[in-house]
């Protein structure tokens, strides 16, 4: 098979994904003459629900952090401790550690905590974001239980020079600046981005109706960072990429609503750098990555004289190959090794852990069927992870309907803190593991100017050996234990309607998630009854948006409803509705493009809380400008 044929095949294949609601593009090999889109089997899961945001959609959020996007445009429940404060996620009733997050295919969760603080993730430095619901441990290993989020950078598409600035001011002392420069030549390309964000977050809130408003104090955030990318397209049509991402965040941690004062602060900093090589040789697409992440988390509370300093360094290496056997068969293979070294005051000694994995996927297509089988074998230090299989199926029912189903085993390996924190770490912990299944139907319909997409998904997941920290027999300290089993099941609906006529365009998007995630073993501490819904997992969640576009104007209204949840100290936290409005106007002048926008968040001034004792802001405003210069070639 000639290289030309392979390219043709790859292009066909990628276009063939059109019938899927949300095909995910992993990498674009921006070759000088012809663009070949390679989609790794691992990235292109079959039989599951996915959401991919376009570059233009992401641009609307580029001054914000990842939680801002997820809570408005996905079924992810974002557990935010407040404006500028930590945020974690729950997908399909999973825990925060059961959401896997990747940056250009590399895991971002802290190996110490097992989770990512989403509030540290600026959207202004990525061009790709996608969300895959459900378990995917056969492809992505530990933690890909509830769902996974891919964030990525896209190689520069347009030759020449471009530069941009996004400046935004907002209530509560918010200032955000994002500056970028991009250059693409014949074989070399580069991108530089720097950003700075500061906010006092000193909004007012009321404890209860009729009470005087109080101002949140000690909530200031300063974040700054830079991302540098370099690309070199080799004469053999391979591509080397190098990225380095530096970021630091200084945060004051505000008191709870039942705490008079706080002097706690947190400093998060990291250096993440990666080198990757991609090449198509014959019928095989090769990719190799090497990366080093070094991250710091320093917590300090001068009030209670407590200081905790954590550091870890991860070395990652990965080689993967996608073999296009023929038009209906593909095979993927990957070898991954991650070595982490972590230290904190609470480890007796620095901890070193090695995670090695082999994985393979095979896809068979015939007639209206697509079937993909995945298998992953992993070794963590000297402990074998159970074999992790996954099977996805799609069936095209006519031209407009697709049926899909997926079953896979999932697991989450205990974090380093679960294992080694002193006191309380438990080296005897077993991994959380179980099986997840889902099935759904989707359709795409078109009538003249109207496009209509609908997707319905049912899912089921059982996880055993669920890890919880609870007071130990010794009393004074908590310890990690495999305490319970959790059964999650539910239904998800997605609706997308687009209407276009002349200068007008209206988009309507809506989603509804019904999630029951219940504890299946009665335990005394923490107090959990059999059949009890997990804390901070809403049974109902709705999100919807309507966008009106006319010429250079665009108006968005976004609405979300979160049902009542149980919490740690109260049986029930009330449900709430929150709406946001965004108005933008775009101008183009020669090589200059500018977009002015005004965002009114929480336009109905809803008094609500996501986490108990943590207030959220009422109505507030953000005003910004995007200025872009593109050289004319």
């Amino acid at each position: 098979m000639s290289r030309r044929f392979l390219r043709h095949l790859l292009c066909l294949f990628s276009f063939g994904l059109g019938y899927s609601l949300s095909a995910q593009v992993d990498t674009i090999l921006a070759l000088p003459e012809v663009k070949v889109v390679a989609v790794s089997l691992r990235n292109d899961a079959i039989g599951t629900q996915q959401k991919k945001w376009s570059v233009n959609e992401l641009k609307k959020y580029q001054s914000n952090k990842l939680p801002f996007l997820l809570e408005r445009e996905s079924g992810v429940f974002v557990k935010s401790y407040g404006l500028g404060s930590s945020a974690t996620t729950s997908i399909r009733g999973g825990s925060a550690s059961q959401t896997a997050v990747f940056w250009n295919g590399l895991p971002l969760q802290s190996p110490m905590l097992g989770q990512l603080d989403f509030s540290l993730m600026p959207l202004g430095i990525i061009e790709e974001a996608s969300l895959q619901y459900g378990g995917a441990s056969d492809s992505w290993g530990s933690g890909a239980v509830g769902g996974l989020i891919h964030l990525g950078n896209r190689p520069i598409q347009r030759k020449g020079l471009s530069a941009g600035w996004n400046g935004e001011i907002g209530a509560f002392g918010q200032h955000t600046h994002l500056l970028n420069f991009k250059y693409k030549g014949k074989q070399l390309a580069g991108s530089s981005r720097i950003f700075y964000h500061t906010a006092d977050n000193d909004f007012e809130y009321r404890a209860a109706a009729g009470q005087d408003a109080k101002k949140l104090e000690h909530a200031r955030v300063i974040q700054q960072g830079a991302l540098q990318e370099l690309y070199w397209i080799t004469p053999e049509n391979g591509q080397f990429s190098w990225r380095i991402w530096l970021q630091e965040t200084d945060r004051e941690l505000p008191p709870t609503t039942v705490q008079n004062r706080s002097l706690a602060t947190q400093y998060d900093a990291f250096l993440r750098t990666m080198l990757s090589w991609e090449q198509t040789r014959g019928q095989i697409y090769w990719q190799a990555k090497a990366a080093v992440f070094h991250e710091v988390l320093d917590y300090k509370d001068e009030l209670i004289l407590l200081e905790t300093n954590s550091r870890f360094t991860t070395l990652m290496g990965e080689i993967e190959a996608d073999w296009y056997i023929n038009e209906s068969q593909r095979w993927h293979f990957a070898i991954t090794d991650n070595l982490v070294e972590a230290e904190t005051n609470n480890y007796d000694t620095p901890i070193r852990q090695n995670r090695f994995a082999l994985q393979s996927h095979f896809r068979q297509e015939w007639r209206n069927w697509r079937v993909q089988l995945g298998l992953r074998l992993a070794l963590i230090d000297d402990r074998y992870v159970p074999v992790i299989p996954g099977l996805g199926v799609e069936y095209l029912l006519g031209e407009k309907w697709t049926l899909n189903a997926r079953v896979n085993r999932t697991y989450r390996w205990p974090t380093l803190n679960d294992l080694y924190w002193s006191p309380g770490g438990n080296t005897e912990l077993k991994p959380e593991q179980g099986w997840s299944q889902e099935a759904g139907v989707s359709t795409i319909q078109s009538i003249e100017n109207l496009k209509f997409k609908y997707q319905l998904t049912f899912f089921n997941r059982n996880i055993e050996n669920w890890i919880l920290w609870s007071p130990s027999d010794a009393g004074a300290f908590w310890s990690a234990q495999n305490l319970t089993e959790v059964w999650s099941r539910g239904m998800e609906q997605r609706l997308d309607i687009e209407w276009k006529k002349e200068d007008w365009q209206i988009n309507f998007k809506a989603g509804h998630d019904l999630v029951h995630s219940t504890n299946e073993v009665a335990i005394s501490n923490p107090k959990l009854s059999e059949g009890e819904q997990l804390a901070y997992v809403p049974i109902h969640r709705f999100f919807g948006s309507t966008t009106f576009s006319w010429k250079k104007w665009e108006l968005d209204y976004l609405h979300r409803f979160t049902g009542k949840v149980s919490a740690i100290n109260v049986d029930e936290m009330p449900a709430y509705h929150v709406g946001d409005l965004r108005l933008q106007y775009g101008m183009t002048l020669a090589s200059w493009q500018s977009v002015f926008y005004l965002r009114v968040n929480n336009i109905w001034d809803t008094e609500y809380r996501i986490i108990e004792r943590r207030p959220m802001p009422g109505r507030y405003y953000q005003l910004g400008i995007n200025l872009t210069f593109t050289s004319i070639k």
Partner: protein
């Protein structure tokens, strides 16, 4: 007869001296020091003073302790777990240096030993630890400030004391609010910040005392309020054993005991006998004479509480603890 009453007076005087108070100064700690059991290698770890024993469980793996610690720390301003050994008064009772701190996981106990074993605990001084006090006053990462967001939450922090006697945990208890925000008028809300005397004599005969804490601030992981309190100058009534050691004993039984309106004294000794009912502080409250082996004594005008009944004869004497209850 005159000789007998003279003896009674001597006996009463002796009783006054036979109260034993454990003030923990015997541990000779300097300011800022504490004992949390980390150096204790005994099979029965804890702290003994006077006629009480304060058990301590220290976990080497966790570096943690439960039960009792002995402290001379004085920090009344630093919140948080790091200041878990300090009393909110900055020292012991009556400006003494040393006091006991309890961290309760389930329950803490105090065992009566020596002459006080099975006897009466007269009382003790109680106050909050700085950690719990500031947590209730200002809130912390886990626990709420009492009164909550509006100041109107009816919060409380309650110490409950029960007794073990003859292997059984009593139903009756003594309750002491270390903090109470349940008043309609918020100006009456309080958190204890002084050493406060707690009379335990109504518990009567005791092998050991059981202490537990409860709070209105409870979550999925149990009580959020730090489970600490401080104790000093626990006084036990060990007169019975001491007197018996000095005096020849005779047989004596009292019934019913606890009693309501009367008791019956029964002794095998012949001849003239004198009886006396004493308060636990040694005050002679009632007395009389009898000649038979049995004598019924009215208690109608004595209130509920702990007493001693003493019988004196030519052959010797005997003393028994008496509880009056149910009035």
């Amino acid at each position: 007869m005159k000789a007998i009453f003279t003896y009674v007076l001597i006996f009463a005087a002796f009783m006054l001296q036979a109260q034993t108070t454990a003030d923990f100064e015997v541990f000779d700690l300097n300011e800022g020091e504490f004992l949390n059991g980390s150096t204790n290698t005994s099979n029965d770890p804890g702290f003994a003073d006077g006629n009480v024993f304060l058990p301590n469980q220290f976990n080497d793996a966790y570096g943690s302790w439960t039960g009792w610690a002995i402290s001379a720390t004085t920090d009344v301003t630093t919140p948080g777990w790091g200041n878990q050994y300090s009393s909110i008064t900055g020292g012991g009772y009556d400006n003494s240096e040393t006091y006991a701190v309890s961290y309760i996981f389930g329950e803490s106990r105090i065992r009566l030993t020596g002459a006080a074993a099975g006897g009466v605990v007269e009382g003790m001084y109680i106050t909050n630890g700085t950690y719990a006090y500031l947590s209730m006053l200002e809130g912390d990462n886990i626990a709420k400030k009492f009164g909550g967001e509006t100041g109107n939450d009816p919060d409380y922090f309650l110490l409950t004391i029960k007794k073990y006697y003859n292997g059984e945990l009593s139903d009756e208890s003594i309750e002491f609010y270390l903090a109470d925000y349940r008043f309609e008028d918020n100006s009456q809300d309080y958190i204890v910040d002084e050493w406060t005397y707690l009379d335990l004599s109504s518990l009567g005969s005791v092998d050991s005392l059981s202490f537990s804490l409860s709070s209105s601030d409870v979550g999925m992981f149990g009580m959020n309020t730090p489970a600490y309190f401080c104790m000093d100058n626990i006084t036990t009534q060990d007169v019975v054993s001491n007197v018996n050691e000095l005096e020849p004993s005779i047989s004596l039984s009292l019934y019913p005991n606890p009693a309501v309106d009367y008791i019956q004294i029964e002794t095998a000794e012949a001849g003239n006998k004198t009886w006396g009912v004493y308060s636990i502080s040694g005050e002679l409250l009632e007395s009389g004479e009898f000649y038979n082996e049995k004598q019924r004594i009215s208690l109608a005008h004595l209130p509920n509480g702990s007493y001693f009944v003493k019988v004196l004869t030519e052959a010797g004497n005997a003393t028994k603890a008496l509880i009056i209850a149910g009035k």
